[in-house]
């Protein structure tokens, strides 16, 4: 086994060890933590963020960033809620959510690839536009009350397992396959490692860059389906600040913000770590205001630890 393999394993292990350590401490502090019920609860709570984070992983691996995922979730949510109110068709609602996510993601992608905008600017603009449009469309009032056939996406169970967990897992398995097994996945890493050299290897960098933002938009649409079904309401403020949680999950999971390095499994663990901290702090009755402080500290610590291992 050579050096690169070892350091890769060590790096992915780093966040796993963090997660296990955290869980051990919490199960010691409160018996309520390590129960099947609570674990499923944590998984369900992180499902929306982790779906967003999966899309964000693609973007960050190319060296970009998508600040608009939370707002896209918001706009997709109210649009699909509107469609549901008018037609009553859950299938159509899902399609509308994905369609709007796709359109916004595609726009982000084209702005970055063809428009040569820095991803930060393009998606910052989209973040404001999407949020604004969701308020315009709803006039600030949530759209509530959906048929059970739609609500399953957020509240249903498949056997003992909540549907949102299943959806998130499918997304992650699929994303893992794409990133590790396919040509597209290689190009994503390649773009983040050196875009010029990638283009000069005869690869349509603009095309694949656009796709990456499209993927992020589509997943924001999917996250909107789960979120809207779960809270039984299309709220124009839904997903506010989620972009930061998604980015945090990716970063805690060991993906480099400059691109080219990182794994989707890392992102999943990153999302879990955040979920476990929130859940654990709730269980041991820590003031929710302090939770933000802890999450912030964890982000800084994770990146510090990551840089240390890289210097080895």
């Amino acid at each position: 086994m050579n050096q690169t393999d070892l350091s890769k394993i060590f790096k992915s292990l780093g966040s796993v060890i963090g997660l296990i350590g955290l869980s051990l401490v919490l199960s010691f502090l409160t018996p309520a933590f390590l129960t099947v019920h609570n674990i499923l609860n944590v998984l369900r709570q992180v499902s929306v963020i982790s779906i967003l984070a999966a899309g964000e992983t693609f973007v960050i691996l190319t060296g970009g960033i998508d600040l608009s995922v939370g707002s896209m979730l918001g706009l997709c949510g109210v649009m699909l809620a509107g469609a549901l109110k008018i037609t009553g068709s859950p299938l159509l609602a899902v399609l509308i959510g994905l369609l709007f996510g796709g359109i916004m993601g595609l726009t982000n992608g084209l702005l970055v690839s063809k428009g040569k905008l820095p991803p930060f600017c393009a998606t910052l603009g989209m973040m404001a536009i999407a949020r604004g449009l969701s308020f315009v469309y709803t006039q600030g009032r949530p759209i509530s009350g959906f048929p059970q056939s739609f609500r399953v996406f957020g509240t249903g169970y498949l056997g003992p397992i909540p549907v949102p967990i299943i959806i998130a897992l499918v997304v992650f398995i699929f994303a893992y396959y794409i990133l590790s097994q396919t040509v597209f996945g290689r190009y994503v890493y390649s773009l983040g490692s050196n875009e010029t050299a990638t283009r000069m290897s005869g690869i349509k960098t603009d095309y694949y860059k656009t796709w990456v933002y499209l993927v992020s938009g589509l997943l924001a649409g999917l996250a909107a389906v789960v979120f809207t079904a779960r809270i039984n309401s299309g709220h124009p403020a839904a997903g506010e600040g989620y972009e930061l949680d998604a980015i945090a999950a990716v970063v805690i999971g060991g993906t480099s913000l400059s691109g080219g390095e990182g794994t989707i499994i890392g992102t999943f663990i990153g999302a879990l770590i955040m979920g476990v901290i929130r859940n654990g702090l709730n269980l041991i009755n820590v003031d929710p205001f302090w939770q933000q402080v802890v999450i912030g500290a964890v982000i800084i610590f994770a990146v510090l630890a990551d840089q240390r291992t890289k210097q080895r």
Binding site: S190, S193, M200, G260
Partner: protein
């Protein structure tokens, strides 16, 4: 050179993952000496200098300066001790002026930290004048030529009162005239008692300027000798550790039909009515000085730069390239001038790099056949004799010559019809150079059309079937192999249009 040893490095060892970069290397440098450090890529020259300048801590060994043992753990400490290094890639800030760069981090300050600009620029002017450099301290570094930027680096180093000046391949991007100016400056510094450690791949330069020469090979010191006691061939033999075979193993290749034709190519300010053709099995050398438009021509043909006017025909079919993607699909591969920025993904593995352009060929509905990709990459690693501990090694840990072979391998794997090589041996040691030459020669024999851009005349003369010379975006002359003479080529590169051979 009558002064005693100014600097001594004793028994320096340094290990990187997978390689022992330095093994018990000791060198001694005197004040007022130009000491050349030569060796193949990966021989440890740059590593040794990075140890000396505090970039890398040594695993073991001692450094003495003026007979005092010193510990150098970063560049600032080295500078305080009077050791300055000028890297191959300059450490200048492009958007600041010459004066600001010279005094960067040490601006003369007045009341409340206000920068005393008058003093800064007048002192910078003094330093430049004392070195005989005619540069305006107010001009921005980004507007300077590479040679002038180098002068700024030297001025910066000397403003730090350096006793030891390390220059890592200072001449690789300079023209002959600029090299002459640099050497004059080096001699001046030497007369002032500065010790200069000079790393170069160009043995004739080493012979010309150095007092003593230390040869490194595979991380070990092979010998140190007076420059006048060694011939170029002897140095080369010491470097590679074996008798050098013929440097240019050009073999006769069957030259066939025209595969690439360029007609009246224009690009504003860069290319001016360029027309030429390339035949199957031919090595077409393009010579010119830096800035003559050779790289611009290559990039235009490869679709990386837009063209204003003109036609490109491949196998007699006119084709428009909007991006390198189109060029690659038309059968063109390119080994760019700037290996690390344009040719390689440094943080990815050897296998990743080699397979990148041809991934689609190993894929079934987008899924990569990883086993096939590895096998193919391994084949290339063996065929090109790429020295790497494994296919998973990150390319950044390979030596320059092996990195260049990886770039070549990625194109060979795709089997293009036309290969454009832009300065294929820049910054590569003698041994790897010879290997790359024989590779190029083999490619021509196999029926590739090869365009080889180079600033090295021996390489152009030794390898090309036909030579084009460029100046200011134009082709100023064309020579067949038999009629090519250095004198004529240099004249054409300097801008004399030579119509008789056209």
């Amino acid at each position: 050179m009558s002064n005693g040893p100014l600097l001594e490095m004793k028994q320096i060892c340094k290990r990187f993952p997978g390689v022992q970069a330095l093994r018990n290397v000791s060198i001694t440098v005197c004040g007022g000496e130009i000491h050349a450090l030569v060796g193949e890529n990966g021989a440890g020259k740059s590593t040794l200098m990075k140890v000396l300048s505090g970039v890398y801590p040594p695993d073991s060994g001692e450094i003495y300066l003026n007979n005092q043992r010193v510990n150098i753990s970063n560049l600032q400490e080295a500078q305080k001790l009077g050791i300055s290094i000028i890297f191959q890639e300059f450490n200048l800030i492009p958007h600041l002026s010459v004066g600001e760069n010279v005094f960067f981090g040490r601006f003369p300050q007045g009341f409340c930290g206000k920068v005393n600009w008058n003093r800064l620029f007048s002192e910078a002017e003094q330093i430049l004048a004392s070195l005989g450099i005619s540069l305006d301290p107010h001009s921005l570094v980004k507007n300077l030529s590479v040679a002038d930027q180098q002068m700024v680096e030297i001025a910066k180093a000397l403003s730090l009162k350096s006793q030891v000046l390390i220059m890592d391949e200072p001449t690789s991007a300079l023209t002959q005239k600029e090299i002459d100016i640099l050497f004059a400056l080096m001699k001046k510094l030497k007369s002032q008692g500065v010790a200069i450690i000079f790393i170069s791949h160009r043995l004739e330069e080493v012979k010309e300027i150095a007092d003593r020469i230390t040869v490194l090979r595979d991380g070990e010191k092979i010998s140190t000798a007076e420059a006048k006691d060694l011939t170029r061939e002897e140095i080369a033999n010491l470097m590679v550790g074996r008798e050098m075979k013929t440097m240019f193993p050009k073999q006769e290749a069957k030259i066939g039909r025209i595969i690439l034709e360029v007609k009246n190519l224009f690009r504003n300010g860069k290319l001016d009515n360029v027309s030429f053709y390339l035949r199957k099995g031919e090595i077409l050398g393009i010579y010119g000085l830096v800035g003559a438009g050779r790289t611009e021509l290559a990039r235009a043909i490869f679709g990386e730069d837009p063209i204003d006017k003109g036609d490109i025909l491949i196998e007699e079919r006119p084709i428009t390239f909007y991006s390198p993607y189109d060029a690659v699909h038309a059968g063109i591969g390119m080994v760019p001038e700037d290996r690390s920025q344009q040719g390689l993904l440094l943080t990815q593995s050897v296998e990743f790099n080699i397979s990148l352009p041809s991934l689609m060929n190993y894929a079934n509905f987008g899924k990569i056949n990883k086993k096939l990709a590895s096998e193919e990459a391994l084949k290339q690693v063996k065929a090109l004799n790429i020295k790497t501990p494994s296919l998973n090694q990150k390319v950044m840990y390979l030596s320059g010559g092996n990195q260049q072979k990886v770039v070549l391998a990625k194109w060979l794997e795709l089997e293009p019809r036309i290969l454009i090589l832009d300065e294929p041996t820049r910054g590569i040691d003698v041994g790897a150079k010879a290997e790359i030459y024989s590779l190029i020669s083999n490619l021509a024999q196999k029926g590739f059309g090869v365009i080889m851009i180079s600033s090295e005349l021996p390489e152009i003369l030794g390898m090309s079937d036909r030579i084009l010379v460029m100046n200011k975006g134009q082709i100023t002359a064309q020579f067949n192999r038999e009629e090519a003479e250095p004198q004529k080529i240099i004249m054409a590169a300097a801008g004399r249009i030579n119509n008789e051979s056209n």
